[in-house]
């Protein structure tokens, strides 16, 4: 069972991640929330306590780095996968410093997303 919260200001990206996750390649995967900005994501996280989060970085209201900081403050162990464009490596690294576990570059393929989600929730080193 993997309960996923998708955070992205792009409706297209949210839908794409949702379709890929629900296509059946990840057994037991379940979407618990689709947030379009950081503030909404924090509220949904508190409400649903997901097992894993995919996080965009550039969003209105609250950006991804701040959002990661708040989510990690609630649950330091939750795996967060940053899904963003590689325009600013420094911001992405900053997101990882705040507690995200991995980074997936946009645009991504279905295979890349599935592999990244599996990796980010695995306990292997």
């Amino acid at each position: 069972m993997m309960r996923l919260l998708i955070v992205d200001d792009s409706n297209i990206i949210r839908s794409r991640i949702m379709r890929i996750v629900l296509a059946g390649t990840l057994p037991g995967a379940q979407i618990v929330g689709l947030a379009r900005d950081g503030a909404q994501a924090v509220m949904m996280f508190k409400a649903h306590q997901p097992d894993v989060v995919t996080m965009d970085l550039t969003m209105p209201n609250m950006d991804g780095v701040k959002c990661i900081e708040e989510i990690i403050a609630i649950n330091p162990d939750v795996p967060i996968l940053v899904v963003s464009a590689l325009a600013d490596k420094a911001t992405a690294i900053s997101a990882l410093r705040k507690g995200a576990r991995g980074f997936l570059n946009k645009p991504f393929t279905e295979k890349q997303l599935i592999a990244a989600l599996k990796e980010v929730i695995s306990n292997d080193e």
Binding site: A90, I93, S94, L96, A100, R101, G102, F103, E119, V120
Partner: protein, 705 residues
């Protein structure tokens, strides 16, 4: 798996031999110890027995002596109880000891304590005991009556005395023999004990020597193996072409690194150096900070290594020739940059108490990826070139076929003229004039391209101008410097030919190519479009009105030249004449500048072409500054020129009042082209201006050939 098991088995085999040897050593020591203890105990017992045997000798003599004493006392009728008591005690002690020697039992020890003794073994002692028993049994029978009565009869004493005199010495001799036999037995056992100890110690020493020998052999083998591994490592590190080293958590470069590392990164580095300090000299501050953060992330175990590789800020690091700083650089073109890629891999240590293997080091590999980057750049360039050509083709197709054909013809003629100028430069060796000539041609081409919104040709011409500008400003221009020109010339040639071919295939063969396509309306429209485009580039607002109805009636040769003049003058008006919007507002003018282009017929074949703008006007001091800036006039010379002469200097090549160089101005070529065309047309040009009111260029010419 099998490969890893085999060395383990070999190691176990080697250790087993040493363990067995150590085990043998211990067992041997235990055996020797046990034998020593056992024999020592026996020897102690035997020594006690010897002492008892020695006491029997003494007791046999004491018994005889007390019997004789009792006999003597009896003769004097003074038999004392003390003598008989001593006899009784000595007899009892001798008897109990002898019985103990014979069958085992208790007696008193030499220190008077109760003692259990074992029956003696061995043929010789047993034989002596048997003989002693034969003597003792009747002896004790004669003594017993003496010890049982207070005053024994004289006859009883006499019988005992007589028996004693006959047998006492025999008994003493037997006890002597017994003592000697027992002492011999002790000596034998002592010899055995010594032998056991000697053999044990010798065997233990031999075993110890074996263990030491084996251990030394093993240590030497391991030393040899370590040396071999170190040699092989050193060979690998000396041979590998990539940079390779281990990075410690404190940022220090490990004790071993590949010899090529300094060459690959173009810096002197040594084991133990601070990697981040080295990096600081190679990358800008922002990237350095990002790299520091990235490395820190990898040393932490939270992020997944495979999911952060794409964020590596050092995956493509540009090293300029200057970065090498003469340190350890490759012998390469000094203007060329190199690209290196630094890749980081976690090195895990032993598991901690939580069962997690933590990152102890990062393995850093540094590859020279210049070739890959150049290939990617070449592909991008090719794509950009293709896109430019497609855009160029589409721009051409938007024009009237006759106009595009004429543009291409003009372009090729300009390129031919440039080619001729280059060839001629070899004979005249007047290179500055050649550059100026080529500059005018290229600038003319750029103006034409801009006027027709052909951005590809405008861009190509602008790049060409950059080269020419650099050459023109170069002191002591040489013939080989002009070799920078042909590649650009060839580039424009080939693209023109390609676009011509494509455009002709795509346009209808029946296209009506009229020489009068460039009608007055079209000419006016072209100038408006040009002004608008230049205004956008200059971030200005401009409104152009063109009143040129007679343009279509001009002969081709005059129309072509007038078009060239018009292009330069309109461009000049937008760039130099019209002020920036805020400047105009401050001067209480409309935000948009106004340019008015007119072509008036003065007589049957005489025309006046004028371009007037309502901008800042011609300011003589600006021209003076430009003359000084060009380096051709000193400050004093510039100050001495009158206004009319100053204005005329605007038509000299290389003089521009624009503070910056861009695609529209700054080269000092525009009015130079105008002056040249005016001269060819046999026309006259006038400049009228009032500061902050207007500038007007008027060209009067005849339409006759």
């Amino acid at each position: 798996m099998e490969r890893t098991k085999q060395p383990k088995r070999r190691r176990a085999e080697r250790y087993r031999r040493i363990i067995i040897a150590i085990g043998l050593f211990i067992v041997l020591d235990l055996i020797v110890l046990a034998a020593t203890l056992f024999l020592s105990h026996q020897i102690l017992e035997d020594v006690a027995t010897v002492n008892l045997a020695g006491r029997q000798r003494m007791l046999s003599q004491r018994i005889a002596k007390t019997i004789y004493a009792a006999e003597a006392e009896q003769s004097t009728a003074q038999t004392a109880n003390g003598t008989l008591s001593e006899l009784k005690a000595a007899t009892a002690l001798f008897d109990s000891t002898l019985r103990g020697f014979t069958v085992g039992g208790g007696t008193l020890g030499v220190n008077g304590q109760e003692l259990r003794i074992k029956a003696l073994e061995g043929e010789a002692p047993r034989n002596i005991l048997r003989r002693a028993a034969i003597l003792w049994t009747p002896y004790v029978a004669l003594i017993d009556p003496l010890t049982g009565e207070i005053t024994p009869a004289a006859e009883t004493i006499r019988k005992a005395s007589e028996y004693s005199k006959i047998n006492s010495n025999k008994l003493l001799d037997l006890m002597n023999q017994l003592t000697a036999a027992l002492e011999e037995n002790v000596a034998d056992k002592t010899d055995i004990l010594r032998l056991v100890q000697i053999v044990g110690v010798v065997l233990a020493l031999a075993n110890f020597a074996f263990i030491v020998f084996k251990l030394i052999g093993r240590l030497r083998a391991q030393d040899a193996l370590v040396k071999q591994q170190q040699r092989e490592n050193a060979q690998i590190f000396a041979t590998i072409r990539d940079g390779l080293f281990l990075l410690h958590p404190d940022g220090m470069i490990g004790s071993q690194m590949s010899a090529s590392l300094p060459t690959v990164i173009g810096k002197r580095v040594a084991p133990g150096d601070d990697f981040l300090s080295v990096l600081e000299t190679l990358v800008p501050e922002k990237e350095h900070e990002a790299a520091k953060e990235y490395i820190s992330l990898l040393f932490g175990d939270r992020v997944k290594e495979s999911l952060v590789a794409s964020l590596n800020p050092l995956s493509q690091l540009e090293l300029r020739a200057a970065d090498g700083g003469g340190d350890v650089g490759k012998e390469a073109d000094s203007s060329a940059s190199r690209f290196v890629s630094l890749q980081f891999s976690r090195v895990k240590g032993e598991k901690n108490e939580m069962g997690v293997r933590q990152t102890t080091h990062l393995l850093v590999t540094v590859h020279d990826v210049s070739e890959r980057v150049r290939l990617i750049q070449a592909v991008k360039d090719a794509e950009m070139r293709a896109q430019e050509e497609i855009k160029g083709l589409l721009d051409l197709l938007e024009l009237e076929p006759a106009v595009s054909r004429r543009f291409l013809n003009d372009t090729e003629q300009s390129l031919d003229a440039i080619n001729d100028a280059l060839r001629g430069a070899g004979q005249t060796r007047d290179y500055p004039s050649t550059i100026s000539e080529i500059f005018r041609r290229v600038h003319h081409l750029k103006g034409e391209a801009a006027a027709h919104s052909l951005s590809l040709f405008e861009t190509l011409a602008h790049r060409f101008e950059n080269i020419l500008s650099e050459l023109r400003d170069r002191p002591n221009l040489k013939g080989e410097d002009l070799l920078a020109i042909p590649p650009h010339l060839e580039d424009i040639y080939s693209r023109t030919a390609k676009l011509r071919s494509l455009a002709e295939r795509m346009t209808s063969k029946d296209a009506h190519l009229t020489q009068n396509a460039a009608s007055g309306h079209e000419f006016g429209y072209m100038l408006e479009a040009l002004a608008e485009k230049v205004a956008i580039n200059q971030k200005k607002k401009v409104r152009v009105t063109a009143d040129v109805p007679d343009f279509g009636s001009l002969p081709d040769s005059k129309a072509t030249m007038l078009r060239d003049i018009a292009i330069q003058l309109v461009r000049n008006a937008v760039v130099h004449g019209i002020e920036a919007t805020n400047e105009r507002v401050i001067s209480s003018k409309t935000e948009s500048g106004n340019i008015h282009v007119t072509l008036k017929r003065l007589e049957a074949d005489k025309f006046e072409f004028a371009v007037r703008d309502d901008g800042r006007g011609v300011i003589p001091d600006h021209i003076r500054e430009s003359l000084v800036k060009s380096g051709r006039y000193s400050r004093a010379e510039a100050d001495s020129l009158d206004e009319r002469t100053l204005v005329m200097k605007l038509f000299e090549p290389g003089i521009s009042t624009s503070p910056t160089v861009d695609s529209d101005a700054g080269r000092g070529v525009g009015l130079d082209v105008v002056a040249e065309k005016v001269k060819i047309m046999g026309a006259q040009i006038r400049l009228g201006s009032r500061p902050n009111i207007y500038t007007q260029f008027s060209v009067t010419f005849s339409s006759a050939a």
